[in-house]
Amino acid sequence: MNYMKVILISGRTVEQGTSLEISKTSEEYSNNVAMIMMNENDMKEIGVKEGENVEVNTKFGSAVVRCKESKIDHGIAFMPYGPWVNMVIGADTQGTGMPDSKGVEAEILTTDKDVLRIANVITQIKGIK
């Protein structure tokens, strides 16, 4: 299993924004949001191809998402806002009210696990101690 350390940032994308206006329980929303963008070389280094799944681990949690190639810098990965990235960001706000949703250290691994469906993400959230 290959892995790589990256700085994870999250944000809005057009696809995330339009599909959330349709339905957050739709396949379209999951497809557009349960993903991570990395650059070509970083993907090669981990040994993952466009459309394959990767596991994203941070000290706060873990999520399995689909990997997509993008023109992003080496060592940086991007995930759209949504419940999957929420699994890997922390809730500490250092007294500001705002969690650190951009610039989190993460480890990306190849995986043969599936992306959690939205219903399972909800079950997982309910189960967090």
């Binding site: 349709i22 706060f60 940086i76 699994m87 706000t93 959230i125």
Partner: protein, 423 residues
């Protein structure tokens, strides 16, 4: 029916040039709208929430009055209720949410605590030189986008206000404007800019401070991966423009440093006003998050993260902000209105919503409604009911109703809950 000059109730641009065509009580067509707006108008009838209450572990459909009664009961019984959301509804509903918070001694917070809360904290510290989007359109010859991506988040911003429009003193449109984009990654926005400056992640504060240093005659060397020469050239451009403006987004507020990043940006703009006219505007996301701050400020004195448990408003982000209250597991009931924290909060915070009685008021089936105890469906403000919203530059605009709805507006729902709590 064809409705012209409709205000789009989606993002902080509040574009007021939307044309909506309705047929048989449905939106049939939308013109002048961006992809988000189109999706919102055309899909307004899809995936609607129904009044539901959790009984024996299952959400079952109930008459709306029963859901309202149950909601009032939950809020009456709670020792530390939290009211959160507010940014995707109109100002009357926001005002009533504050009234309810005072009545039940709740903490009330809006989504700015997880978007531009740091912007407000910084402005409280050092003030902000602002202007309207109209002034930008008519006057700005230098536009800087810092840590934001309007090409994907505020799609019509460029054509209506900041890059291409021709105005009173900007007759040549895009040709007459210098556009800079500062960000940690190249995006579609960089392609619209004349200059893209790649900032090393987490180094925005340093780069903003380097510009301030150069303006004061110091040379800080290379900063944030940007060569010293480039910093000097860009500072010169900022000094020599006629009317400059910085638009900034969550790339500044959400990264390490948070309010200190904004503090540096606000102070840079202040310094630039020694040389020319410069202003700064936050790119507000939800269409009425700016209104949520204004309404809470004129009702309580504070823009967000307000607690009423002492009977009077106390303000303290970090203590009374929703993520913190939830992550610490403090509240024993929650009313979520016009927002979807399960979709946007760290799971470590939203998990608590599944453990307590959570009431959701939302037009659509939100992810939070899937873990809620009580779901109350509402009309979509700006499509199914009227109201007022505040644009990202603080200008209030009137939302219109273009479709009759079977659902109650948020303000009517809150009025009923308040009556029931008082009864």
């Amino acid at each position: 029916m064809i409705y012209k000059n409709i205000v789009c109730p989606l993002c902080g641009c509040l574009c007021d040039d939307i044309e909506v065509v309705t047929e048989n009580g449905r939106v049939a067509d939308v013109k002048n709208a961006c992809a988000f707006s189109k999706s919102k108008f055309l899909n307004h009838a899809k995936d609607r929430a129904k009044p539901r209450i959790k009984k024996n572990g299952k959400l079952v459909e109930v008459p709306i009055e029963e859901a309202l009664d149950e909601a009032a009961e939950v809020l009456k019984k709670a020792d530390f209720p939290l009211i959160y959301g507010l940014s995707s509804t109109e100002t009357d509903a926001q005002r009533l949410a504050v009234e309810l918070a005072e009545l039940i001694g709740a903490s009330i917070d809006n989504t700015s605590s997880v978007c531009h809360g740091p912007t407000i904290q910084a402005a409280q510290d050092c003030g902000a030189a602002k202007c309207t989007l109209g002034e930008v359109k008519n006057r700005a010859d230098l536009v800087i986008f810092w840590g934001c991506n309007p090409a994907e988040a505020h799609i019509k911003h460029a054509t209506r206000y900041s890059i291409t429009p021709r105005g009173l003193y900007t007759e040549s449109g895009k040709k007459g404007r210098e556009i800079m984009h500062m960000d940690v990654r190249e995006t579609k926005t960089s392609k619209m800019a004349n200059i893209f400056v790649k900032v090393e992640p987490g180094q925005d504060y340093e780069l903003l401070s380097a510009f301030r240093a150069v303006l004061k005659g110091y040379d800080g060397g290379d900063v944030a991966g940007v060569p010293s020469e480039t910093i000097k050239q860009l500072a010169e451009k900022m000094k020599s423009c006629k009317f400059g403006v910085i638009f900034f987004g969550l790339g500044l507020t959400m990264t390490g440093g948070k309010h200190m990043n904004i503090n540096a940006a606000l102070r840079l703009v202040r310094d630039l006003n020694d040389h020319t006219k410069f202003a700064i505007i936050p790119m507000r996301g939800h269409y009425n998050v700016s209104g949520a701050n204004d309404v809470m400020t004129w009702c309580t004195g504070y823009p967000y993260a307000v607690n009423f448990s002492k009977g009077y408003p106390v303000y303290n982000p970090g203590e009374f902000s929703a993520v913190d209250i939830l992550a610490r597991g403090e509240c024993d009931a929650a009313l979520i209105i016009a927002s979807d924290p399960v979709a946007h909060f760290p799971a470590q915070a939203s998990k608590h919503l599944a453990k307590i009685p959570t009431i959701v008021i939302d037009p659509k089936i939100s992810l939070t409604s899937l873990i809620a105890k009580i779901v109350i469906p509402s009309a979509i403000a700006g499509i199914e009911c009227d109201g007022t919203a505040y644009r990202m530059d603080g200008i209030p605009l009137r939302l219109r109703k273009v479709i009759d709805s079977e659902f109650l507006p948020d303000r009517e729902i809150l009025k009923k809950i308040i009556e029931k709590v008082k009864a």
